[in-house]
């Protein structure tokens, strides 16, 4: 085809060589991407595909709404808990259940713990290897590595001997020939820009972060009993508080509060002394590689989260920013109404689902899902052996959600840009400091690197907010309030015959909403529209491309056989495919092509 211009301002040309990456690894779930390169190996067309479907919302139909948190929590074990929180909020919204102040605080602590853990693990274990050449670290001078580490951070593990030991362990591992998860990778690729010393330092921190991440989640274990997949409760939180009464050892008591407090201190220290300095050091070597902006300079959305006050989900209560930016107009923040039928809509004309009228999108409360796995006429291969997809037809298990018809990017960068545009100091100031430290203009934010940097800043923000809410919990208890659950509407006989509600959060990866309809105390319809559905969506009816596809365009590849640049940009979104590929049949509609056994 000739060059095609999309309504949202991108040029696509699929004439050149097609490169396929499947599976895309170091993500949650299953994903495929295909790109077309021009003669200079620059990406001119991108096709991103969600390659799994589990049908959880079909399964939710007819269940007890109080159980929905557990089902939806299993949408994703990486962003564990965030779907559960969204779910209990949706049910509480539908049934007008008010939760106690302590429950709101503990939920915020749970959600912030997830943000800290998820961002840290993403940076070191899912994303770092796109920037860090592990093998190059073998050439580092341990003394120079130590000097580098000590120049950027007071973190104590930074002696020449420490890095020498790490290097020795690394050398012997590489020389053994059994490289495990580092096997067949892209070591020595020209897109790696770090000097050996920075590579060695980052590799050491990869291992330290692996040890440390298991500590952070103990906060979930205290309040939720386990991690992954802690427990939640409609109407509050399941953990009671008992500070000085009989049997306090069976509840949240002083020892438990001290444990959480200690982990928060360690988390703040690790993020500020390891993650952030590493981020700045690494970014300093890549500030000329500002590809991957995609939709971020034009269209962004955040629902907001972390309510300061229980049961108040308005703009003023939410600590994470809320709003939509369109067409790059930073001075105009659009208000979101998740119940409005013309705002959030999902389209399926490029997704493996069927609507009666695919020219229209459907609001989640009225969502329809009918699987329809067909390949387009220009696809190569067979239905069970795909060589190349036809993006002119249906090509993904992900639907295309749009806000008032616009494709938008969600996630930490969206939150930070919206907070920046709203002139909120706690978001604007760290961004300005970072830009200054790197000596780059504001426009540098709209890039793969900007996305990665915003996530780091948010991790530090979340760690500080953990301290704030843990202190708030203690203050409330001190004032005599130990309540953690409201059971007035626990019994389904107290519910109206029919109800509908919506719950939202900001998951680590971006805006997350659950829409529920309850009829006769059972779930009649359940729909989740998740961050990676927004970011990873295929094209829509009008031809607008989603954030993943937009971000890959115009990026040069040093070696088309080794898709390092593609991985780098996709990973900057922290894709979560098990989340994104969901669906729901509306009340009374049969899901076709399904054998119910």
């Amino acid at each position: 085809m000739a060059t095609v211009s999309t309504p949202n301002g991108f040029s696509l040309d699929n004439a050149g060589r097609r490169v396929v990456v499947d599976p895309v690894t170091r993500i949650e779930g299953h994903m495929r991407v295909e790109v077309n390169l021009d003669s200079d190996n620059v990406i001119r067309n991108a096709v991103s595909t969600g390659t799994m479907w589990r049908g959880l919302e079909v399964i939710l139909k007819g269940r007890d709404p109080r159980d929905a948190w557990a089902f939806t929590e299993r949408i994703c074990g990486v962003c564990t808990g965030t779907h559960a929180l969204t779910s209990v909020r949706a049910v509480e919204n539908a049934l007008d259940i008010k939760i106690p102040e302590n429950a709101n605080t503990i939920r915020n602590i749970m959600q912030l713990t997830l943000q800290v853990h998820d961002h840290l693990v993403h940076f070191y274990h899912l994303h770092a290897l796109d920037w860090v050449d592990v093998v190059s670290g073998l050439k580092a001078d341990p003394k120079a590595t130590s000097e580098l580490a000590q120049s950027i951070s007071p973190w104590p593990k930074s002696s020449p001997g420490y890095f020498r030991d790490i290097q020795a362990r690394l050398r012997k591992f590489v020389e053994s020939g059994q490289l495990g998860p580092f096997k067949n990778a892209y070591w020595g690729h020209p897109a790696y820009k770090l000097p050996p010393e920075a590579n060695l330092m980052a590799t050491a921190h990869y291992l330290e972060a692996l040890d440390f991440q298991k500590e952070i989640v103990k906060i979930h274990t205290v309040y939720g009993g386990k991690n992954p997949h802690p427990n939640w409760l409609v109407g509050g939180v399941p953990c009671p508080i008992n500070i000085d009464g009989t049997g306090g050892v069976g509840a949240i008591n002083m020892e438990r509060l001290n444990l959480v407090s200690s982990i928060i201190d360690q988390s703040i220290e690790f993020v500020n002394q390891v993650y952030i300095p590493d981020l700045i050091a690494i970014a300093g070597f890549y500030k000329d590689w500002l590809y991957g902006g995609g939709l971020s300079s034009t269209s962004l959305m955040s629902y907001g989260d972390i309510p300061e006050r229980a049961n108040d989900y308005g703009d003023k209560s939410l600590l994470l920013p809320r709003g939509v930016i369109l067409n790059g107009k930073l001075d105009e923040i659009h208000e979101i109404d998740l119940g409005a039928p013309d705002q959030v809509q999902e389209f399926v004309n490029h997704s493996w689902y069927k609507y009666a009228d695919e020219s229209k999108g459907l609001h989640p409360w009225d969502g329809v899902t009918e699987p329809n796995y067909v390949l387009g006429p220009n696809a190569k291969g067979t239905k069970t052996r795909i060589e190349a997809l036809d993006e002119g037809a249906k090509y993904s298990w992900i639907k295309s959600p749009r806000w008032k018809g616009h494709a938008v990017e969600v996630g930490p960068l969206a939150r930070y840009v919206i907070g920046y545009a709203q002139n909120k100091p706690e978001f604007k100031e760290p961004v300005d400091q970072l830009l200054k430290a790197l000596d780059v203009p504001v426009a540098a934010l709209f890039s793969t690197l900007g996305r990665t940097a915003a996530r780091g800043l948010e991790c530090a923000w979340a760690a500080e907010k953990l301290r704030y809410f843990q202190d708030k919990l203690v203050k409330t208890i001190k004032a005599g309030d130990q309540s953690t659950a409201n059971t007035a509407k626990w019994d389904p006989s107290s519910w109206p015959k029919s109800a509908k509600g919506v719950g939202f959060t900001e998951a680590p990866r971006g805006a997350l909403g659950h829409w529920i309809r309850i009829e006769n105390t059972k779930i009649a319809n359940y729909q989740a529209v998740v961050p990676t559905t927004w970011n990873g969506s295929p094209r829509d009816t009008k031809g607008n491309i989603g954030a993943f596809e937009a971000s890959l365009l115009d990026t040069p590849m040093a070696d088309p056989e080794q898709p390092l640049e593609i991985l780098r940009t996709l990973h900057s979104f922290d894709p979560c495919l098990a989340c994104s590929t969901h669906v729901m049949a509306p009340d009374g509609q049969e899901v076709t092509k399904v054998t119910v056994r």
Binding site: F71, K183, T221, P238, T595
Partner: protein
């Protein structure tokens, strides 16, 4: 295979002292519930055995098993991945992608035929010719069959691989199918749970490496060492159950005192897992300790057994214990009776177990897998 080294070679080359190594071995023995005398035996095994390649596949799942695995405190996952096994394929953490990643599967299958472990997280959907889960443009179930065909053993991580879990809950729209119904000619170790406990996962791996055999399994294929007793059998709140002291409502006085959660729907009495002993995340807590009943996540079909808040009164295997519900209502005076009734039912159960009649309660509403 000159380049295949022993675990001990690797750990020493990585700068770990012999002393630390021996300490690690005794900790491993302890985490497996073995006597201290087993420490040297583990050390000997580690010194003489090569690192086994592990190919960790992902089907329909949520990745909670991988997330749990990296939470392991003893051994640390860093040491498992760098020193105990050779985790040559795991799409969640591996650096390579696309055809570089897929090439590893072929290489290990041929180079280590019959000498690697296939670890499976999630399960294959069989509807739509398997295309509800696509890897490398093909149905995941093909990759699963190929990789398992040359493996020496298969580990089914978590409830997805073991039973089907949430995507297999009614009406199971994708026909998500547990691994043992697709792979029928290999030893399969089921490590259920949503997710399984981290130290149980690394404990199973350590056991295989240490004793050069798969753990002793129960009739459902689960390692007996971790799955042969119910949460309820070892629950620290059990004395409250026996005394008829129950939480009646969330956050009530009994909840604050840490009484038994049975009336709030706790599935501890029918759930076989190690949560109440090994506990979670380095022993910090487990669901009951943090105030919520067990939802039974390691049991087959636990999603289809009614609400998580339904009391277990109508579960057949619960037998006489159901009476404890009424006993709880009249409290103190009948505590003695409660304990007696309880002891009686336990004796009956032991007899049943011996006769091989049953080891776990049936799940009347669970989806059947053919």
């Amino acid at each position: 295979m000159a380049r295949v080294e022993t675990f001990y070679d690797v750990i020493r080359r990585q700068g770990i002292s012999r002393r630390s190594f021996l300490k690690f071995c005794s900790l491993t023995a302890a985490s497996l519930g073995l006597a201290p005398a087993f420490g040297p035996r583990i050390a000997h095994a580690m010194e003489t055995k090569p690192r086994i390649p592990v190919l960790w596949l992902h089907g329909l799942e949520c990745t909670c098993c991988s997330e749990s695995f990296i939470r392991s405190a003893h051994p640390l996952v860093k040491d498992v991945v760098l020193s105990m096994i050779s985790l040559d394929y795991d799409d969640t953490i591996m650096a390579a992608a696309g055809h570089q990643a897929e090439a590893i599967l072929d290489e290990i299958r041929h180079e280590y035929k019959g000498r690697y472990i296939a670890a499976v997280e999630g399960n294959p959907p069989l509807n739509e010719d398997g295309m509800y889960c696509i890897v490398g443009g093909r149905p995941f179930v093909e990759q699963l069959r190929e990789v398992c065909s040359d493996a020496m053993a298969v580990i089914s991580w978590g409830s997805c691989a073991s039973w089907g879990c949430v995507q297999a809950a009614h009406p199971n729209p994708t026909r998500a199918t547990p691994v043992h119904e697709v792979i029928t000619d290999k030893p399969i170790i089921k490590v259920p749970g949503c997710p399984p406990i981290a130290e149980v996962m690394t404990g199973v791996v350590s056991y295989i490496l240490t004793f050069d055999k798969i753990p002793e399994l129960d009739r459902q294929g689960r390692p007996k060492m971790f799955y042969s007793q119910r949460i309820h059998d070892k629950c620290y709140r059990r004395p409250h159950f026996d005394a008829g002291q129950f939480v009646e409502q969330w956050d009530d006085e009994q909840a604050q005192k840490g009484h038994c959660l049975y009336k709030m729907g706790c599935k501890g009495p029918t759930t076989y897992n190690a949560c109440s002993t090994t506990r979670w995340n380095g022993g910090v807590s487990f669901p009951i300790q943090s105030g919520h009943g067990c939802i039974g996540c390691s049991e087959d079909g636990f999603w289809d057994n009614g609400s998580f808040y339904d009391r277990l009164t109508n579960v057949k295997q619960f037998g006489i214990e159901a009476n404890a519900d009424q006993i709880g209502g009249t409290v103190a005076g009948v505590i003695g009776t409660g304990i007696a009734a309880h002891a009686a039912v336990s004796a009956v159960k032991r007899a049943r177990m011996k006769s091989g009649e049953t080891q776990a309660p049936p799940h009347p509403n669970a989806p059947s897998h053919d």
